[in-house]
Structure formats: structure tokens, C-alpha cells
């Protein structure tokens, strides 16, 4: 299967994206901001359709739009309830514009499907290099803010008292999420970013007790899903995005079952 150049590109792209989406997703789930991540991906759709209109590569339109939206959502503030409403409104507005752009772009149907559901087998070497550059940038930025990010996520009021700016951290983190989202959208499309970013991370949070282990497990599970999905797509000729979502659901269900089984075992040991 690796004899084909397009498969090699796909495996490389999937690996890069998985190794970024897993760790970024870990913090996203830890902070309870999965809705923000979900919204960013959909907002990216508008950026990509806008890019088509302007004749620039959709990846850059997607990235620009998610980056702007991420920073704005981060700066909006700490009040969670209000934040969800604000995110929802921005999301609806952005999708409205996306639909308007679609209206102006003719002969868009195939690109639109690729944008929404991904087309990893069509990734060219230039895109792989772009993904690698963006991925390194995202992971480096995440590494740079990881300590105050963890502190602000677990103990926001204490972090603030110790001099951490919650707003700055939120904006920087969502900017990183924007990078990860733009990457993941190249593989599974904007509609299914959740499957690489949230699925493995949520499973990792259920399976681990240490932060370091959780981040590594999230990355490993994302990689397993992405590569497993590609291999299954090659064998079956079904879309890779489908297999990746199927594996994501399976991995999460297995993590939940492992948790319940552990609880039952602990109860049995006590009895």
C-alpha cells in the first residue's frame, strides 16, 4: 500500500495531524472547551469558501478565519455560560457567510465535499510540508504555554492570583486550537475535526491519571485512528474519513467500558 505516492503522502499527513490534534485536544477537553473547538472548525468552512472566492489556497483561508475567531472567542471572557451563547452566535453568523460565498462560487460541489468531509488521499507533497510547518509551530506554541495553561485550566482563580492572565492564556490557546483545526480539516474535513481532536483526548483523559501520560496517550490514539482509518480505507475502498470516525467512536467506547470495568472490579475487590 505504501508503494503508491498518494498513500505515502496520506500517511505522512495523517501522522503530522494526529500528533498535533491529540495533545491540543487533551487540553481542549480538560478545559471543557470542546464546543469552542467544534465551532472553530465550522467557522473554518467560511474561511475556506472565502479563499476559493479570492483564488487563494483554502488551507490559508481556513487557518486565517479560525485564528481570528479563536482569538476573539478567547478574549470574550471567562463566563462560561455567556461564552457558549457568544460562540454559538459567531458560529451561526460565520456559517451564514460561508453559505453566501458558496452561492457566488460556481462549480464548487466536489471541493465543498472535500472541505466538509476531507480528502486525505488527494493530499500533495506541498500540503504535507505546509502541515509539517504548521504542526511544528502549533506544538512549539503549546509547549511554550503548557504550564500556565494547565494551571489556568485546573485552578483558574489561584492562577489569576499568582499572576497568570486568564484572558491571554485563553486567546493564545484558542489560536493554537485554530492551527490544529486547520490541520485536522485537511484530513477529515471541517465537519469531522472532532473525531481526531476530541475523541482520542477524551479517551486519554479517562484512561490516565497523569498529565504527561494523558498527552502521550491522546497523541498515540489519534495516530492509531488516523493510520488505522487510512489502512482500512485502502482495503475496503470506503472513505478514510468514515473509518477514522468509526475508530474514534470505538476507541472512546472502549475507554468508557474500561472505566466501568475498573469500577466494578474495585467494588468486587472491596466486597
Amino acid at each position: 500500500m505504501l508503494d503508491y505516492a498518494f498513500m505515502r503522502n496520506a500517511f505522512a499527513a495523517a501522522a503530522i495531524v494526529a500528533l498535533v490534534a491529540g495533545p491540543v485536544g487533551y487540553f481542549l477537553v480538560l478545559r471543557g472547551q470542546t464546543f469552542a473547538g467544534h465551532a472553530l472548525a465550522h467557522i473554518g468552512f467560511t474561511g475556506a469558501t472565502g479563499a476559493f472566492l479570492l483564488g487563494i489556497p483554502p488551507l490559508w483561508g481556513l487557518l486565517g478565519m479560525t485564528l481570528a475567531a479563536g482569538v476573539v472567542i478567547g478574549l470574550l471572557g471567562e463566563d462560561l455560560a455567556q461564552r457558549d451563547v457568544a460562540i454559538g452566535l459567531v458560529l451561526a453568523l460565520a456559517l451564514g457567510f460561508g453559505f453566501l460565498f458558496l452561492h457566488f462560487v460556481t462549480s464548487f460541489a466536489t471541493q465543498a465535499t472535500a472541505l466538509l468531509f476531507g480528502n486525505v488521499l488527494a493530499v500533495d507533497p506541498a500540503t504535507v510540508w505546509s502541515l509539517l510547518g504548521l504542526g511544528i509551530l502549533a506544538l512549539a506554541a503549546l509547549g511554550a504555554i503548557a504550564r500556565p495553561l494547565l494551571f489556568a485550566s485546573l485552578q483558574p482563580e489561584l492562577a489569576q492570583a499568582r499572576g497568570v492572565s486568564l484572558r491571554l492564556i485563553a486567546a493564545l490557546f484558542l489560536a493554537i486550537v485554530a492551527f490544529a483545526t486547520a490541520e485536522a480539516a485537511q484530513i477529515v474535513g471541517v465537519l469531522l475535526v472532532f473525531t481526531l481532536m476530541v475523541g482520542p483526548a477524551a479517551a486519554a483523559l479517562r484512561l490516565t491519571r497523569r498529565v504527561g501520560a494523558g498527552v502521550l496517550v491522546a497523541a498515540a490514539l489519534a495516530l492509531l485512528q488516523a493510520w488505522g482509518g487510512l489502512a482500512l480505507a485502502y482495503e475496503t475502498d470506503w472513505p478514510a474519513s468514515f473509518w477514522i470516525t468509526a475508530l474514534s467512536g470505538l476507541v472512546y467506547a472502549a475507554a468508557v467500558l474500561a472505566g466501568s470495568w475498573r469500577a466494578v472490579a474495585a467494588r468486587g475487590a472491596r466486597a
Binding site: R147, L158, A161, G163, R209, R210
Partner: protein
């Protein structure tokens, strides 16, 4: 030099004045009980000492330095416990996130940081507890981890915002004893906010009572009096001492209801008038909470 000093301080939130004309000096090594009804401004006062609420007027100093964010001399236990109930992270990692937490970079604790985490966990007797996931800890056990976190980096002033919240009476006594012994061993100054004075009576030095935009600092004899409390609640207050406890009640109403309230015992009425939902303490009273609401 006072551990904490307020000079003619006014604190406002969202344009509303919460406390005004506050003058007080807490000396190093004191154990101060910070009391007041819901919304009286206890949390606001503590956050002002941390530099998180800038005074509209006056000045606040901590060990002679102006109050400012990131002061390593202060340990803080916030009131809102934001730990998600299903988080499977270990207590140890939770405590450790606060070590040098404001510094950029990866959260990889070095040898010194790990030793500091073990030190504070030992101080509160939670070294074994901290191995377990947060999701499997009781409220009281989480409280101990939060206390450990407040002790990181050897603070000289501990600001504890309602550590007794949602604990049963015996756990309350346990937390109070733990804090008192830490205070003696480490020589720290403690400002401990609570809704009920009684659990703190055996260990506290003085009381800081807030209400009606004012604050009164002094000994129990000087502050817990009908005259001072009536001023702080803006309504007539009675103070009754019985069996080593102090009961504060609004204009006799509270005690009158006591005799035929819940019926089971003279102490049962606590259930009938507590609306804050924080505590279900069956035999200690804090009538003014209701007086302030009324």
C-alpha cells in the same frame, strides 16, 4: 509590620461599592476568622489582598508591600471549587500544577518542585490520598488537597475562603484543627472565612466581621456584641452564649422559632432557615445569614 493592612479602603465590583472606609491591621502570626453573611464581601476582601480587586480608594499592604498579583508571600484557597467531578487526574498532579504555574514552558516538575509537592502533601496528611484520581475523592479529601496547594512555596499569609463549606461537623473540626496546627508549626498568619463562628472559637485570635459595607476587627468579646452586629447587619441583633457556643440571631425571631421550628430539638432549626445550601450542620447556628437576607 502588619501581615495585612487596609487604610481607608473602598472596594467596588461592577461599579457597586461592596465595602467602604475599611481600616484594619492584622499582625503576623494571628488566626483571624472572617465572618459575614452571603454577599457581605468576604471573598471580595480576600481578592483585594491578592491584588485581584483594585481598591477604589485607600491602600492595602501585605507585609509592608502594596497588594499586587503574584505575591509569593500569600497562599490562597479560592471559594469556588472548579474541579470537574469526573476528572480522573491524580490529586498529586492537581496540586503540582500550581508549582511555578505562572512560568512559561512545559509543566515538567524538577526535583525541587516534586519535593515541594511532597512537602505540602505531607503537611496536610494527603500523601496517600494524592495517588487517587480526583473523581474518586470526597469533598473533604479534595479540600485537603486544596489546602496543600495553598501551602506551596511557603507562604507567610494564608487566605482561606470558606474551607468548611459543605463539610459535616466532625470534618469541619478536623479542618480547623489542621489549619491551627499548621499555623503553629509554620508560623503563618491565617485569614479564614466562614459562615459560622463556633467551629473556629477554640483556635482563633480575633474576628473580622463584614456586613452593611463595613468591617469590624477585634476580639470576640468586642465584636460579637449586639451593638456591633446590629450595625453590621443594619437590623437589631441578639447574641446568646450557651454551652461554649455563641448564637447570633435577628431580633429574637430566630430563637423564638427555635422552640417550635423543626420540633426535634432546640438545635434542629438550622434546617428550617438555611438557604445558602453550603452546609447541613445540624447543631450550630448562624442566624445573621438570614438576617442579612431579610
Amino acid at each position: 509590620m502588619s501581615a495585612l493592612a487596609f487604610r481607608d479602603v473602598e472596594l467596588a465590583l461592577g461599579g457597586r461599592s461592596v465595602l467602604a472606609g475599611v481600616n484594619l491591621a492584622i499582625e503576623a502570626g494571628e488566626f483571624i476568622a472572617l465572618l459575614g453573611g452571603n454577599g457581605a464581601g468576604k471573598t471580595t476582601l480576600l481578592r483585594a489582598a491578592l491584588g485581584l480587586v483594585a481598591p477604589r480608594r485607600g491602600s492595602i499592604s501585605v507585609f509592608g508591600q502594596p497588594a499586587a498579583r503574584g505575591n509569593p508571600a500569600i497562599g490562597y484557597m479560592p471559594q469556588s471549587r472548579s474541579i470537574p467531578p469526573s476528572l480522573r487526574l491524580s490529586g498529586r498532579d492537581f496540586v503540582a500544577c500550581a508549582v511555578d504555574g505562572a512560568r512559561w514552558g512545559l509543566p515538567l516538575p524538577g526535583r525541587a518542585a516534586r519535593a515541594e509537592v511532597e512537602r505540602v502533601l505531607d503537611l496536610v496528611g494527603a500523601a496517600d490520598l494524592a495517588r487517587r484520581p480526583l473523581a474518586e475523592l470526597s469533598g473533604g479529601e479534595r479540600q485537603r488537597l486544596l489546602l496543600a496547594q495553598a501551602l506551596l512555596d511557603q507562604p507567610r499569609l494564608l487566605l482561606l475562603d470558606e474551607p468548611l463549606m459543605s463539610l459535616d461537623p466532625s470534618r469541619q473540626a478536623g479542618v480547623v484543627d489542621l489549619v491551627a496546627s499548621l499555623q503553629r508549626r509554620l508560623g503563618v498568619t491565617v485569614l479564614f472565612s466562614a459562615h459560622d463562628l463556633n467551629p473556629l472559637l477554640p483556635v482563633m485570635d480575633r474576628v473580622l466581621y463584614v456586613g452593611n459595607r463595613q468591617a469590624a476587627l477585634g476580639t470576640v468579646e468586642a465584636v460579637i456584641t449586639p451593638a456591633v452586629l446590629s450595625r453590621l447587619y443594619g437590623t437589631p441583633i441578639e447574641v446568646v452564649r450557651a454551652g461554649g457556643h455563641i448564637f447570633v440571631a435577628a431580633g429574637g425571631l430566630d430563637l423564638a422559632r427555635d422552640t417550635h421550628g423543626c420540633g426535634e430539638s432546640a438545635h434542629g432549626h438550622a434546617h428550617s432557615h438555611r438557604h445558602d445550601g453550603h452546609r447541613h450542620d445540624g447543631h450550630r447556628h448562624d442566624g445573621p445569614t438570614e438576617a442579612a437576607d431579610a
